[in-house]
């Protein structure tokens, strides 16, 4: 060989934690909370309209102490988890079916697309008529909410797999399992994770709506109940809970996304 090309990977750079970057996202919330506290403490706004952060924190402590918050949380958590799991399960199943088979696509997809255009919340009266205000109706609503984003994105993810890479896997004689795990799933993963993130969002939304229309437990009920007695601080505790739960579940999926999609070469801003 006459031509020598030497290429070596340079040592990977040590990651330095940049404290400035870590603090940036907190600047705006902290300023708002301080201003909020001041507005309340100085008596500009009445407490039953806007309780101060310190008051909300105390209420939070009380609700946590007497176990009430935890009770509502478990009830809500169960509903979301069940509905989400059901919706995602069926969504994956149908999405994979229609993704792989044109026949399944032509039989199933048009009907589902039609159903998808009906706003979910418009179905609530029907659900109350059919299932009453019990657990089943709520879980079912949540699962429908979780179903569509998962279904649509699984289907799309599979159909977006590059035909050229499928050709490679045929040339190399991958087994069906190899094709699935080395080509189709990794390629569809960005869409799959997007579908799951969207499904989580809708699950929380539908949960709140469901819990506000007749039930005796759950964070949504807690908020509704507190409103009736003008306990604005409890309303806020409920809202903060929803914000925290939504953010946590979303961050979890986002973390998985970042870890499993590090091969991607995309614009990072």
């Amino acid at each position: 060989m006459t031509v020598e090309i030497s290429e070596k990977l340079s040592e990977p750079q040590k990651k330095k934690i940049n404290w400035l970057n870590v603090t940036y996202p907190w600047i705006v919330p902290i300023v708002i909370v301080i201003a909020w506290q001041l507005v309340g403490s100085l008596g500009f706004v009445e407490e039953h309209i806007l309780p101060t952060p310190s008051k909300i924190l105390t209420t939070f402590g009380t609700l946590l102490g007497n176990g009430e918050l935890f009770y509502h949380l478990t009830v809500s958590g169960q509903r979301v988890l069940l509905g989400f799991a059901l919706g995602v399960g069926v969504g994956v199943l149908l999405g994979v079916m229609t993704g792989f088979s044109r026949l399944a696509q032509e039989v199933i997809d048009p009907s589902l697309q039609m159903l998808r255009t009906v706003p979910l919340l418009a179905l609530i009266p029907l659900f109350i008529l059919w299932f009453g205000v019990g657990e089943f109706g709520k879980v079912f609503m949540i699962s429908i909410g979780a179903f569509f984003p998962v279904y649509v994105n699984f289907f799309l993810g599979i159909r977006l797999v590059d035909q050229k890479l499928i050709e490679v896997s045929e040339i190399l004689q991958f087994s069906f399992w190899g094709k699935l795990t080395k080509v189709i799933i990794p390629s569809a993963l960005p869409n799959i994770l997007l579908g799951i993130r969207l499904a989580l969002g809708t699950s929380w939304l539908v949960l709140v709506v469901g819990e506000m229309m007749g039930t005796s437990a759950g964070i949504g009920y807690m908020i509704q109940d507190a409103r009736a007695y003008a306990q604005t601080d409890i309303v806020f505790v409920g809202l903060v809970m929803f914000a925290l739960l939504g953010k946590c579940s979303d961050s979890l999926v986002y973390a998985i996304e970042r870890k499993s999609l590090k091969w991607r070469d995309t614009f990072k801003g």
Binding site: I5, E7, K164, L165, I171, Q173, K182, V183
Partner: protein, 258 residues
């Protein structure tokens, strides 16, 4: 070198699209010996890729006889390796996993072979790199290593070095010749580059478009390693060029008539 590995007789291929019928290949006859290095050149659209895809088993809707080691080709198989014009690596797999494909790197035998190939294509140090971290030439070398891991009897290459710069290209040609000499793999190499065709091939197949057919097959009787600067090489190159220009003229006259 006497055994015929690939036998193509009266191969015809027609593409039917809703509004037309394209005769991509007409009456192709070609016999390739075991271990032979064939290069194929011809103007764009003359059916070179179509021919390779049929031999690879990626396209089985054709008429005629296409036999590899006495067996009619009905689909892809591990005896037939294919290197595409673009590297077509799996972007989510590291270099070594791309080469291993659906074989497990945990198997020490696979691991050993993969690393040997990485050395062969001079990519040591990049085992764990993702395709996005590679240059075009490096990526194409990975795809060559990937094809070689399966130890194909016949390697089909569709303009594999088309996107490379002159320097990397000549390096890759050396690598390929090296592999050919050690493994005795039968090669069918499609290229746009006349120089490349003469440098690599024991026979050059010249194809003509509309409909795609073989115009002539020229033997290149120069021993390896070949020197581009040698008089014999220049002479050979001129002969092929003459033949090729005839093809081009014909194709332009036909083209002008349409």
């Amino acid at each position: 070198m006497s055994e015929r590995a690939l036998v193509i007789e009266r191969l015809n291929k027609i593409f039917t699209t809703p509004n037309e019928r394209v005769v991509a290949l007409r009456e192709i006859d070609l016999q390739v010996k075991q271990g032979e290095f064939i290069t194929v050149i011809g103007p764009s659209g003359c059916g070179k890729s179509t021919l390779l895809k049929i031999v690879a088993g990626l396209d089985v809707e054709y008429d005629g006889k296409v036999e590899l080691n006495g067996q009619q080709i009905k689909g892809p198989s591990l005896e037939k390796g294919f290197i595409f014009q673009e590297p077509r690596l799996f972007p989510w797999l590291t270099v070594e996993k791309n080469i291993a494909g659906d074989q497990s790197l945990k198997d020490p035998k696979v691991r050993g072979k993969v690393h040997e190939l990485i050395r062969l294509v001079k990519l040591e140090g990049f085992e764990k790199a993702y395709p996005k971290e590679l240059s075009g030439g490096m990526a194409q070398r990975v795809s060559i290593a990937r094809a070689l891991l399966r130890k194909p009897d016949i390697l089909l290459l569709d303009e594999p070095f088309g996107a490379l710069d002159a320097f990397t290209r000549s390096h890759m040609q050396e690598v390929l010749l090296n592999i050919w000499e050690t493994n005795k793999t039968t090669m069918i190499f499609v290229t746009h580059d006349l120089d490349e065709a003469v440098f690599l091939g024991q026979r050059v197949v010249i194809m003509n478009p509309r409909p795609g057919h073989i115009k002539s097959v020229l033997p290149i009787e120069l021993s390896f390693p070949r020197k581009r600067s040698s008089l014999a090489f220049q002479e050979m190159r001129r002969t092929v060029l003459n033949e090729f220009e005839k093809v081009e003229e014909e194709s332009y006259t036909v083209g002008a008539g349409i």
